[in-house]
Structure formats: structure tokens, C-alpha cells
């Protein structure tokens, strides 16, 4: 490779993965579809009363988003490990940190971005108003990065293992707990009329930043182990 500039490597991986996602049978669609199915099932389980649904809406939304992200990350590294490209990237000078950045961008663009766009529409189906839904999608933008970082880390830990997807779920549970706590309370605070900037949403943002600092090094270490 002539250009070992980290940014150009990042864009090369990003471009390849986006093309793969859009040309190989709608890889970008799975997370959104899971999100839609989960929301519909939750609505059926809670019953048709819109008042009851509106109370359950914040928790339902965040559960749907967290599970969809976790599922869509489950085979994030599997193909690259199998066809050897992960090994090639690991031996490059730019290293795995760039690769991690590219994968986070891929996750954000293919699975998370569609969900954020779709969330106001689903929230109106759950009994909120559309403007409330728009506000909630802004809170999604604050909290979702931490869920992506966690999903990428657990997926890296489970890469190449038997029942890896299930194992990644088990490992992700303790990490997702604080995110869900503050995400749901920030959403509730917004719906109660306290606006987007509340202590809860600030802490949620802090968790996202903390995960952005904490997880890359551990993810890279886990990827190196999976190469051995």
C-alpha cells in the first residue's frame, strides 16, 4: 500500500465496508428492521392503549436500539478475520486503531443512522407527538455512541469464538446497564418538559465520551488476540 496515511486508510476501509453493506443483500437494513419488529412486538405486548404505550415508550425505544446495535455488531469482524484482511491491516503501520475508527463509522452509518432517522415515526406510533419524537432522537444521538463502542468491543472479544454472538450479548449486559439507566431517565426528563440539556443527558454524554476513551485500546487488544 503506497498511502499509509491513517485517514486515507480509514476512508478506504469505510468505502469497502459501505459498498459491501449496500450491495450484499441489504446489510444496512437489518438493524432498522430489528428495531421495527421489536417496537411492534412491544406495542402488541403492552396492549393498544396509547396512554399506556406513551409511558413505556422511552424504555421500549432504548431497549430496541440497544439490542439492535448489539445484534448488528455481532459479525462485524467475522469476515475480515476469515478472509485474512484483518491480519493484513494489523501488520500495516497505521494499525488497528484506524481500523477501529472505520468500523465505528460503518456501524454508525449503516445501522444506527437509519434508526435515529426512523425513531420519531416509531415514537408517534407509541403515542408521543412528532416534536417530542424529534427531541428524543436528539437524545439518541447523545447516548447511542456509547452503545456502539460497547457493541464493537464485545464483538471484538467474541470474534472467532463458538456462539460468539450470544457471548457478546452476555458480556455487553453489565456495560449497557448505566447507559440505559441514564438514557431512559434523560428521555423521561425531556418528555416531562425539562428540555434536552438536563443532568441526566449530560451524564449520558459523559458516558459516551468515557467509552470513546476506554474501549478503543481494549478493542484493539482483543482483535490482536483473535489473530493469534
Amino acid at each position: 500500500m503506497t498511502s499509509s496515511d491513517p485517514l486515507s486508510v480509514l476512508f478506504a476501509i469505510l468505502r469497502r465496508d459501505l459498498i459491501l453493506a449496500f450491495r450484499s443483500g441489504g446489510g444496512w437494513f437489518y438493524a432498522l428492521f430489528f428495531f421495527a419488529v421489536f417496537t411492534a412486538l412491544a406495542a402488541i405486548a403492552f396492549g393498544p392503549s396509547l396512554n399506556a404505550l406513551a409511558i413505556a415508550a422511552p424504555a421500549t425505544l432504548w431497549l430496541a436500539v440497544a439490542l439492535a446495535i448489539q445484534f448488528s455488531a455481532s459479525d462485524l469482524f467475522e469476515n475480515d478475520l476469515r478472509d485474512g484482511s484483518l491480519r493484513v491491516i494489523a501488520s500495516e503501520q497505521t494499525g488497528l486503531m484506524t481500523y477501529w475508527g472505520a468500523k465505528v463509522c460503518v456501524m454508525s452509518l449503516t445501522s444506527v443512522f437509519p434508526m435515529v432517522i426512523a425513531s420519531p415515526f416509531f415514537l408517534t406510533m407509541l403515542g408521543l407527538s412528532f416534536t417530542q419524537g424529534l427531541g428524543v432522537s436528539l437524545i439518541l444521538l447523545i447516548g447511542v455512541p456509547s452503545l456502539i463502542f460497547i457493541a464493537v468491543l464485545t464483538s471484538a472479544l467474541a470474534t472467532g469464538l463458538r456462539a460468539g454472538g450470544l457471548l457478546a450479548m452476555v458480556i455487553a449486559v453489565p456495560f449497557s446497564a448505566p447507559v440505559l439507566v441514564f438514557a431512559v431517565s434523560a428521555t423521561k426528563a425531556l418528555l416531562a418538559g425539562f428540555g434536552i440539556i438536563t443532568p441526566e443527558s449530560l451524564i449520558l454524554g459523559a458516558i459516551s465520551l468515557f467509552m470513546a476513551v476506554l474501549t478503543p485500546a481494549f478493542t484493539v487488544a482483543a482483535l490482536r488476540v483473535s489473530l493469534e
Binding site: L157, I207, E228
Partner: protein, 249 residues
């Protein structure tokens, strides 16, 4: 500085001393502590005899967190100094730690029924202990799902270390979450605020649980080392051609 402990033969010699001593300490302190706690300590003025649950509950909760800290410290040593015995120590502490966590949750539920009127509440402490139990399960699952021990150890180190950073976050987040919904916690068992007649049996029970944990970990470590030796002997079996540079890790 840790290399002194990495020699399995030296560990074996040390374990032969530490194991029986901790078993003895456990038997003595548990007998005295349970006797004092269950029969010779006063009743609580509010809880009556239910307070005696404290002597089995508090040490279990203490060990649940102590064992996880032990796993994290051992993983750090293994991560930094490539110390294989530390991996074995961390792995050996996982099952006792998970059992202590489950025991803390169970005895807490049994204690909660007469005092709070409920087996389970989504209190900050209970919730963070439950998540600690899940963390133990995740840690044990990763050891189970990687067949090669050397690789499994590397995955497990990473998981134990991130998990350790995660524990205080969970602790504070659920406390915060809980304070939004419920009035302050009811559970009060701070050491210095209780009378010596209750404190002494409690301290004895804490020593007993710690000694039990030490004995179990040392026992499990010796077993793992022996198992490794047996597996290596199988590799060295005469049906295979003996070559130089074998059985290295």
C-alpha cells in the same frame, strides 16, 4: 518482582503451607463466629433475631467484591508481566466469587423478607450486585468458549480489566437512578456504628469467609497446575515421536 511467584514448583511449596493454614483459620473462626453470632450476640431492637442474617450476609457481599478485585489485580499482573500463574489465579477465583455473589443475593433476599417485607427490590445495592453476578458469568463464559487456554487467558484478562473499570460506574449509576425513584436506602450495617458484641462475630465471619476463599482458590490453582502437567504428559506419550523444543507455551 512477581517472577518469584511464577515458578509453579515454588508456588506448590507455598500452597502446601497456605492451603491447610487457611482451612484451619476458616474452621476456627467460622465455629467461633457462628457460635457468637447465632447464640451469644444480642437481638436487634427492631429486627429481633432476623439481624443474625448479617453474620452470613455481609461477609458474602464483602467477598463478592473482594474476589472480583482479586481477579482484576491478577489479570493486570498477567497482562503487564505475562505471568501465567496469575491467569490461573484469576480463573480459580471466578467460581468462588460468583458463588459468594449469589450467596449474598440469596441471604439478602432471605433477610429482606422479614425486614423490608419483600424478597427483592430494585435497590441500588441489589441491582449492582446482580450486575456483578452477570459480570462473573461473562468472565467464566469466555474461559469456557475458547478451547486453547493460552488464548482464553488473553481474552479473559481484557474482559476482567474492562469489567473492573465498569463496576464503579454501575455502582454510582444505579445509586443515582434509584434515588430518582425511591426514598433513601434502608440497609444500614456500617462497621463502626454497631456495638462490639455484634461487631466481633461479624469480623470473625469476615475472616472466616476470606480464609475459605483463599483455601478454595489455592486448591483450584493446584488442581489446574496438576491438570496442565497431566495434559503435557499426554503430549509426551510414547506414541508420538519425541523431538526437541516441544511442550513450550
Amino acid at each position: 518482582m512477581w517472577s518469584r511467584f511464577s515458578n509453579p514448583a515454588k508456588f506448590e511449596a507455598m500452597a502446601r503451607v497456605i492451603g491447610p493454614i487457611s482451612l484451619g483459620v476458616f474452621l476456627v473462626t467460622a465455629t467461633v463466629g457462628l457460635g457468637l453470632g447465632l447464640f451469644y450476640s444480642p437481638q436487634d431492637y427492631q429486627q429481633g433475631d432476623a439481624v443474625r442474617m448479617m453474620y452470613v450476609h455481609v461477609p458474602a457481599a464483602w467477598m463478592a467484591m473482594g474476589a472480583y478485585s482479586f481477579i482484576a489485580v491478577m489479570s493486570l499482573i498477567a497482562f503487564v508481566w505475562r505471568h501465567t500463574l496469575a491467569d490461573i489465579a484469576a480463573r480459580s477465583a471466578a467460581l468462588p466469587g460468583a458463588v459468594f455473589t449469589a450467596l449474598a443475593l440469596f441471604t439478602g433476599a432471605v433477610w429482606g423478607k422479614p425486614t423490608w417485607g419483600a424478597w427483592w427490590v430494585w435497590d441500588a445495592r441489589l441491582t449492582s450486585m446482580l450486575i456483578l453476578l452477570f459480570t462473573y458469568f461473562g468472565y467464566m463464559a469466555i474461559w469456557q468458549s475458547v478451547p486453547e487456554q493460552v488464548r482464553a487467558a488473553r481474552f479473559a484478562r481484557i474482559l476482567a480489566l474492562v469489567g473492573f473499570i465498569n463496576i464503579p460506574i454501575i455502582k454510582f449509576s444505579v445509586e443515582w437512578w434509584n434515588s430518582l425513584h425511591q426514598p433513601a436506602s434502608i440497609l444500614r450495617a456500617d462497621g463502626p456504628t454497631i456495638h462490639p458484641t455484634m461487631l466481633i462475630p461479624l469480623l470473625l465471619m469476615i475472616i472466616a469467609y476470606t480464609a475459605l476463599f483463599t483455601w478454595l482458590v489455592v486448591l483450584e490453582m493446584r488442581t489446574s497446575l496438576m491438570r496442565q502437567r497431566i495434559e503435557k504428559r499426554a503430549v509426551r506419550a510414547p506414541s508420538r515421536p519425541v523431538s526437541a523444543g516441544m511442550t513450550d507455551e
